[in-house]
Amino acid sequence: MEQEFKFFMKEDFSQYKDEWVAISQNKVIASGKTAKEVFNKAKKQQPKTTPFITKVRGNEAMLF
């Protein structure tokens, strides 16, 4: 988990804005519009690994 998080923190994901990505071993292994789609793609590639998935923030301001 820490390796994937470090990669997420330092890399530029602007090409994936508003998309979900799955990260493994310092690379994006899947991307898509929904968490389910990306989780399933990652599981297919690495069935025994807990997928690391996150949504890449778009240009909008976030107010929760």
């Binding site: 923190m9 997928p51 909008e60 929760f64």
Partner: protein, 141 residues
């Protein structure tokens, strides 16, 4: 034990860049996934998407209720999930309630309920970092 994290730089066209207190969490239900949650002191309770809840196979038999946020009211179901936070050799595992929102396609939000009881949280935005200190001495490696 203290766990130190950096704010995540998020570049936005035409709005200037922002830094956000993001933290990696592993969620466990019948399935597991790791994601990046935003710490949100304005939210009463943690929030996840219905996609996440279904992937984790959480119990979603509770009654759907109105959940109010700044964007209006959406339907949600209250459930609970186990989470793990790791940093180096340190690890904290606990259960927390979560609102599972129907119309929410975003990363999890770590609201106050349970999470803010489990940790003293020191935000140092000027240094782009925050520090979690577990409040229970039982939390550990």
């Amino acid at each position: 034990m203290t766990m130190h994290f950096r704010y995540k730089l998020q570049e936005r066209k035409n709005h200037g860049n922002v830094y956000a207190p993001c933290i990696p969490l592993t969620f466990s239900g019948k399935q597991k996934l790791t994601s990046v949650a935003l710490i949100d002191s304005g939210a009463d309770t943690p929030v996840i998407s219905r996609d996440f809840a279904e992937l984790l196979e959480l119990d979603l038999r509770g009654k759907k209720q109105d959940v109010a946020g700044i964007g209006g009211t959406v339907k949600g179901t209250l459930s609970k999930v186990s989470v793990k936070i790791e940093k180096g050799h340190d690890r904290v595992v606990f259960q927390m309630p979560v609102w599972v929102l129907d119309d929410f396609n975003n990363n999890p939000l770590l609201g106050r309920e349970v999470f803010f009881d489990k940790f003293n949280i020191k935000f140092q935005q000027n240094e782009k970092k925050f520090i979690l200190s577990p409040t229970s001495s039982r939390a550990g490696r």
